[in-house]
């Protein structure tokens, strides 16, 4: 009874909480000062779209239209025509970036590794036109953000499913027991 009254009188729980708040003042801040301090996106971040190039610089896209068929927000438009030797020519490839929901289904649907989502995420602009990507813009996105080893790494990890996803294999991540404990302590 007396204990309860003392608790009430001396605002014990408030003092305790205040103590926590003051202790927090001595810890390092967890916020980042965003425009000055940038955190790189994780590999495979679903950001701005790009159209991939082959090693020789020609676009990979063959115009099959699977990406536009699977797109849940119908933001991809592929325009094709028949060339001289009856091959399909990709006349235009437009992505309405403002309508995209970044599900990444186009990447999975594409049989030719042609369309990718880059890790670039700072592309806000003032006009709608600037965020309407045509084929040239998309190809230059590839050159700017994904060309070389990065693109290969991306396809290796996120162009799924692969045959190995349908069976067990040795280098799958599992719990590492006591070793994991050590690691987490070190971190």
């Amino acid at each position: 009874m007396i204990k309860k009254m003392a608790k009430k009188l001396f605002l014990l729980e408030i003092v305790k909480a205040m103590g926590l708040t003051f202790r927090m003042m001595l810890t390092r801040p967890v916020t980042r000062q965003y425009p000055d301090e940038k955190r790189p996106a994780f590999p495979g971040f679903r950001g701005l779209h790009a159209l991939a190039r082959r090693e020789d610089g020609t676009p990979r896209c063959v115009g099959c239209g699977l990406c536009s068929a699977v797109c849940p927000s119908r933001c991809i438009h592929v325009y094709t025509s028949e060339g001289a030797d009856h091959r399909k020519i990709v006349d235009g490839y437009d992505i309405e970036v403002l309508r995209c929901v970044y599900c990444g289904f186009c990447v999975e649907a594409c049989p030719y590794k042609a369309v990718v989502l880059t890790e670039h995420f700072e592309y806000s602009d003032y006009t709608r036109e600037a965020l309407f990507m045509n084929k040239d813009k998309l190809l230059s996105n590839w050159d700017n953000y994904m060309a070389g080893a990065k693109g290969e790494e991306y396809h290796k990890r996120f162009w799924r499913p692969m045959s190995e996803d349908f069976k067990a294999h040795d280098d799958q991540a599992v719990f590492r027991g006591a070793k994991q404990k050590e690691l987490s302590n070190a971190a």
């Binding site: 926590l20 994780f42 999975e108």
Partner: protein, 398 residues
């Protein structure tokens, strides 16, 4: 002039929302007030209606998945899993063990991040701002893990019909395990110190928004809102899906069915989720992450698409027309999302698209129970009640 008792007064009708910071989105509630006490409370929903159910009818089973992300966008994996579980049961697809564990793990991550945000915004509405700031630090860790896993932070679209999109990396498992090491202690040291005994918090929550077990059942409440009233009902226990029958966890129950008990339930559920994640990581077996026996439903392996005819045809047909071999039938499958019971009722007419997809969303049901919670309440209690039912309007209005 002397004030007499027979002075005529009139009830005041005010409209809270749809643009009110305490209504968690675009909920409009018309309150009829007598002084400061609520006489009548009428919620109006539909400001965030996007027609998800109708949209799904024109999409293949495959590409309807991102729609479910945008229901309860705080815990989108849970919705994805709910949808996938429904489609898998309808078509009899058996998900591999590893995929089941990964799904369970990510679902519980989403549950923690949803509860943590729910409790934090609730506390912020009532006036405890510090919890809100701390909670975003822990939520950030989880969102970073989601980004590492699949490349998106909120609308993840990670599960697939018959499995998951890509395998977990060792780095991800290590980081998540390290998080589960410290998280329960963080809850106790920080959130519970700040709120559990705080006299202002207790005065604002104890005895407010009371709903009895019987009423809660009658109003169709589910999830922590029902368990706060002491009803033992959790779909993870009663009809286990994925790997929930292989992990151990307790279901916390409240006693009084007031705001405070529901808050305690959520806090305890976070600790239990933490437990589930640890067990999932420890038990995670090696194996397939996509159902190999469902070539008509899952995309064929990419390395074979341009190598053999069969796979190429599958790839094109699946994406343009949806699963052709879809059997006819209808099915209701429910899963436990952080807000309660999320049900998908799907009718398949054998084409690659759902003939009808009906959603039973917990937030919608909970909003309809708001007038019950607001009986004999003050305007300030209304804020506590909106916070405690933990609604997301994206799911409510669909």
């Amino acid at each position: 002039m002397p004030i007499t008792n027979d002075m005529k007064t009139k009830n005041l009708t005010i409209s809270m929302g749809p643009q009110h910071p305490a209504t968690h989105g675009v909920l409009k509630v018309v309150l009829e007030l007598d002084g400061e006490s609520i006489v009548k409370c009428t919620p109006y929903v539909g400001y965030l209606h996007r027609g998800v159910e109708k949209l799904a009818e024109s999409m293949t089973y495959l590409s309807a998945l991102p729609l479910t992300d945008r229901l309860d966008y705080i815990a989108s994996v849970c919705n994805n899993v709910g949808y996938c579980v429904a489609v898998e049961r309808l078509f009899g697809i058996e998900v591999p063990e590893r995929a089941k564990f990964i799904r369970t793990m990510t679902c519980e991550m989403a549950r923690i991040s949803s509860h943590i945000l729910g409790v934090a915004t609730h506390a912020l509405d009532i006036g405890a701002m510090t919890v809100f700031l701390y909670s975003f630090r822990d939520r950030e860790t989880l969102l970073d893990l989601f980004e590492m896993l699949c490349g998106a932070r909120l609308t993840v679209s990670y599960p697939r019909i018959g499995g998951v999109r890509n395998d977990v990396t060792q780095e991800f498992l290590d980081k998540l395990y390290a998080f589960t090491d410290t998280f329960p202690a963080t809850i106790e040291r920080e959130y519970e110190t700040l709120l559990n005994e705080n006299r202002i918090w207790k005065q604002r929550t104890i005895g407010v928004g009371v709903i009895t077990a019987e009423e809660a059942i009658n109003w169709g409440m589910t999830g922590p809102n029902l368990r706060g009233s002491g009803v033992f009902y959790d779909i993870r226990k009663f009809a286990p899906y994925d790997a929930y029958d292989k992990v151990e966890f307790d279901v916390p129950l409240g006693k009084n069915g007031d705001v405070y008990d529901r808050y305690l339930c959520r806090m305890e559920e976070m600790k239990q989720s933490n437990r589930i994640i640890r067990q999932c990581i420890e038990q995670l077996p090696k194996g397939a992450i996509m159902a190999p026996d469902a070539p008509k439903f899952t995309l064929p392996p990419k390395d074979r698409v341009l190598a053999d005819m069969e796979s190429l045809i599958h790839q094109f047909v699946l994406i343009t027309k949806g699963p052709i071999a879809a059997p006819e039938g209808e099915l209701y499958a429910s899963t436990e999302v952080p807000k309660g019971e999320l049900g998908f009722y799907i009718i398949s007419d054998g084409s690659g698209k759902p003939y009808r997809m009906r959603l039973r969303s917990p937030s919608f049901v909970h909003v309809s129970a708001l007038p019950v919670l607001c009986r004999d309440a003050m305007v300030a209690d209304f804020i506590a009640n909106v916070g405690t039912i933990d609604i997301v309007l994206g799911e409510c209005d669909r």
